[in-house]
Symmetry: C2
Subunit: 186 residues, 2 copies
């Protein structure tokens, strides 16, 4: 059986370590220890801890593809799809890596600009689903789809952050319920 | 004129440095450099960087007293008070220190438990204002005051985080508008 290559092992370890300990809270040594690869191997694959951090961000984002696909499952109502999307993003005791990196790394332009693009992309997918709810009359239309989508996206960040502080998945469940209440057309 | 004492200078510097660079992103040396006091002086006043971090959290929370007082200015409607409260918390390019510490330090029990108490206290003050809006019929009553308050508090965290990524105060302004829309009784 082929051994998983060192680059992938470092990437997986980076995701785990940065997610649990934060970016500044962990060093290259923590990552290579966790990956069980020699430190020299790290620099064969990544220029720096920051380069790894940027790849970790992409890995985490791509892991959300399934959750975002819920927004497009056309055999369900737009409201139901938004709820299933948020449920799929769900709860993790470490919060959301994108939120964590936002809090910690917004001062580093390469992180800030990439996270901004990811938020924009996420918001567009939510807005497209809301627009369908505007057309079929199920979602309130006294606000623009983009503004409602932004509210959901940033609210979910806040809910995941608060759930991390409470160490309680019920925070995210209550958030989902409030979003349904907010969006439903009168 | 009396020289401001070293403890206060370290506390002010700690707030500034942790707010800008994060807790793990800065060291005691950064704080004493910023405070312009000798490093030895730090340990006369604080047991550790963590001890300073916990005091910085209290300082930041207390700086929000004025913003929370808006919730109790009884000559204004509950909806207006909530809006003025969120406006007073407002935008800072560094986001909210409590949110930043939540993202970065939830794994350290002393920070996690104290931040949880602060969120609870903040939520109670918002909920009290919403309850008045339930009584006078101005705020939607198809959800409990506590759940609406939680939604506002965590949503504001998310809005401040997103505003930090966009470096744009308009994110918080849009959030305030959405909250008014959500809360207003039909």
């Amino acid at each position: 059986m082929a051994k998983p290559n060192h680059k992938n092992r470092i990437l997986d370890a980076g995701l785990e370590v940065f997610y649990q300990q934060g970016f500044h809270g962990s060093g290259v040594q923590d990552v290579v220890d966790h990956a069980e690869v020699p430190k020299g191997s790290f620099y064969n694959h990544f220029k720096s801890k920051q380069a790894l951090g940027l790849e970790v961000l992409e890995t985490y984002w791509n892991a959300g593809n399934g959750a975002r696909a819920e927004l497009r499952s056309t055999n369900k109502s737009p409201l139901k799809r938004i709820d299933r999307h948020l449920a799929a993003l769900g709860y993790d005791k470490n919060g959301c890596l994108i939120g964590n990196f936002s809090a910690e790394l917004a001062g580093i332009e390469e992180f800030r600009s990439r996270i901004s693009e990811l938020f924009e992309s996420w918001k567009s997918e939510v807005a497209a689903c809301i627009r369908e709810g505007h057309e079929d009359g199920s979602i309130r239309d006294d606000a623009k789809a983009e503004d409602l989508a932004e509210f959901i996206v940033e609210g979910m960040q806040g809910a995941q952050l608060k759930a991390k502080i409470e160490q309680d998945p019920a925070v995210v469940a209550r958030f989902r319920k409030s979003i349904q209440l907010f969006l439903t057309a009168p």
